[in-house]
């Protein structure tokens, strides 16, 4: 287990201003290590994606940050304090949480559920009507018992309760799993608003493609170890995966001649595909535009490919 976490954001805010700091945290359940010496910090106004397979330690990390469990070794700080310590109750008033396996009491209505959680948080219930509208739960639906709700409606209610009391830190564990695309859109719009308002949003997911362009930073976990941490551009740079350029209209031979040693050329149907290093992308394009092409497209490595790359690299060490 030799881990060399990629920390691609050394210039980001210092841990003293961070909303969440995880310092050398190890969590052991029985004989199994769920997390091994993980360190990271989350800053205000940042939307961070936590990605990894099932069992990579994403939920364990979130539970540690919430103070639901304590670390075996290391230190956790939420808004500067121990989330499992004496001030835990006060801290939690500034936190919103959407658990992975969201469950509500089936006999309460949507509105009653939200009112119940609002009272627990000491928040005025008057705002709940607006909150339900914000997540797209209509008045009719709010009067129905939660037991009759679809997965999407439960998730909307889940988001509504997480937003109670304008939290400073929001933990969303697999929030969009099993949701339809329209609802995902609503979800990310709300996350965007919160981020602008200075809220720290931590989003765990294994649906990587939908995270592209929606998060400021990506943390990749594998079997309890942090294997990468940085912006999408940082990670692309570090991974140095080949960029794929597809061109049509010119024969493969002509393309190969034009590129020389800059890229590998192959044919894919009636298109010519060349793989080149990210740094050579512009030079390759310049040479290709000299050819009589019908069309050209550049495919950057996707988050899925980056993730696969970091996993491979981890297994190789």
């Amino acid at each position: 287990m030799s881990a060399h976490p990629v920390n691609a954001s050394p210039t980001s805010a210092s841990p003293t201003s961070a909303s969440v700091v995880i310092d050398q945290v190890t969590k052991i359940y029985g004989a199994r290590a769920a997390l091994t010496e993980v360190s990271l910090h989350l800053d205000p106004g940042q939307c961070v994606a936590l990605v990894g397979h099932n069992g990579a330690g994403k939920s364990t990390l979130i539970k540690l940050m919430l103070g639901l469990i304590r670390p075996t070794h290391g230190q956790v700080r939420l808004l500067g304090e121990d989330p499992a310590g004496a001030h835990a109750a006060r801290l939690r008033r500034a936190v919103g949480y959407l658990p992975e396996n969201l469950a509500f009491h089936p006999s309460l209505t949507g509105r009653e559920t939200l009112d119940f959680y609002a009272r627990l948080k000491g928040v005025a219930r008057a705002g709940n009507t607006d909150l339900l509208a914000r997540v797209g739960l209509e008045a009719e639906a709010a009067r129905r018992r939660v037991g009759t709700y679809s997965k999407g409606m439960r998730q909307r209610l889940g988001l509504a309760q997480a937003l109670l009391g304008q939290p400073k830190v929001l933990f969303l564990d697999e929030p969009t799993t099993g949701l339809d695309p329209a609802l995902r859109q609503v979800f990310y719009e709300i996350v965007q608003e919160l981020r602008t308002a200075g809220v720290t949003v931590l989003l765990s997911s294994h649906a990587l493609t939908e995270l592209e362009g929606r998060t400021d930073r990506i943390i990749v976990m594998n079997r309890g170890v942090k294997i990468a941490d940085g912006t999408l551009a940082n990670l692309r740079h570090l991974a140095d995966l080949p960029v794929r350029i597809q061109a049509t209209g010119a024969p493969a031979g002509a393309v190969a001649d034009a590129l020389g040693t800059l890229g590998q050329v192959s044919t894919n149907g009636h298109a010519v595909e060349c793989l080149c290093a990210g740094g050579d992308k512009v030079a390759v394009l310049r040479r290709l535009t000299g050819l009589p092409l019908a069309d050209i497209s550049v495919v950057e490595p996707s988050l899925d490919e980056l993730y696969a790359h970091f996993l491979r690299r981890e297994q190789a060490t």
Binding site: L68, I69, A89, N101, A103, H105, S107, F116, L120, Q161
Partner: protein, 281 residues
């Protein structure tokens, strides 16, 4: 910013009560208790006819037996799932991400469940009392005192077994196991304990088991403390229950017996809160 200490437990208790009402649990328990109490009241008064025993005293004796079987069972069924079930379903991790302490969670649930059980007992047994009045039976003030003592101590016995159920629920990782242990507790305290005690007394012939030791053995079972409280509470009742001899032998006053029941509530409840607060969710 600061929420009064009891606010959170009361909010949680209110939610438990509403849950109990919505899933018809409270209604079912109330009907069950009322039906059994009314049957015992009228069947029980048949053999006594017009003998000098007060009708209410007869009812107190038969209803105490009913309480010993029924109330612990209802209380355990209500409580064994309270913690392990919510952890299992996933509602607990969400609840604990709110500004609540685990002690407040246990206390809130306890207040809610106790209120539901108290309602069922009060209405169920109250129906029996009201039926007696309606038939114009002979009820003296002392009879009513014994009757009120019965209802109060039945609720207290319920509190004991709700607390024991939480202790099981906080200890065990699996709902099925919690249910099994709860039924086991009921069998031990309600059936096995007394039979074993009787067996020991018969076999021993009073050689080593002294009255002092018997006192302690009875304190070891909340159901026996309840029985003793009700059956020796008033002279009339103990006469009728055939407990007059025992009442003379055992030196445990009603206050001691109630204190025993209160202790049997506070201890498991505190232990449940302590174990739950160390549990990994």
């Amino acid at each position: 910013m600061s929420i009064p200490l009891m606010t959170i437990p009361l909010i949680l208790a209110g939610k438990e009560i509403r849950d109990g009402l919505r899933n018809r649990w409270v209604v079912a328990a109330t009907l069950l208790m009322a039906t059994l109490a009314l049957s015992l009241t009228f069947l029980g008064s048949v053999p006594t006819g017009t003998v000098g025993v007060g009708a209410l005293d007869v009812v107190v004796v038969s209803l105490s037996s009913l309480t010993i079987f029924l109330v612990p069972l209802i209380a355990l069924l209500l409580s064994f799932d309270a913690i392990v079930g919510e952890v299992d379903r996933g509602t607990m991790s969400l609840l604990l991400s709110y500004p609540v302490s685990r002690g407040q969670v246990v206390l809130g649930k306890f207040l809610g469940h106790l209120a539901s059980l108290a309602f069922a007992t009060l209405v169920g047994y109250g129906a029996a009392g009201a039926a007696l009045v309606a038939t114009g039976a002979d009820t003296g003030p002392e009879g009513w005192r014994a009757f009120a003592g019965l209802i109060g101590s039945s609720i207290l016995l319920g509190a004991v077994f709700i607390a024991l159920g939480y202790l099981v629920s906080a200890l065990v990782r699996d709902r099925g196991a919690a249910g099994g242990i709860a039924i086991g507790l009921w069998l031990v305290f309600v059936l096995v304990f007394d039979m074993a005690l009787l067996g020991v007394l018969v076999a021993d012939q009073g050689k080593t088991v002294t009255v002092g030791l018997l006192n302690w053995l009875i304190l070891a079972n909340p159901a026996d403390a309840f029985r003793l409280f009700n059956l020796t509470g008033t002279a009339q009742v103990s006469q009728f229950a055939g407990m007059a001899g025992i009442a003379g032998q055992i030196h445990l006053g009603p206050v001691t017996l109630l204190a025993v029941l209160a202790g049997w509530t506070a201890l498991p409840l505190g232990a449940a809160a302590l174990i739950f607060s160390r549990r990994q969710i």
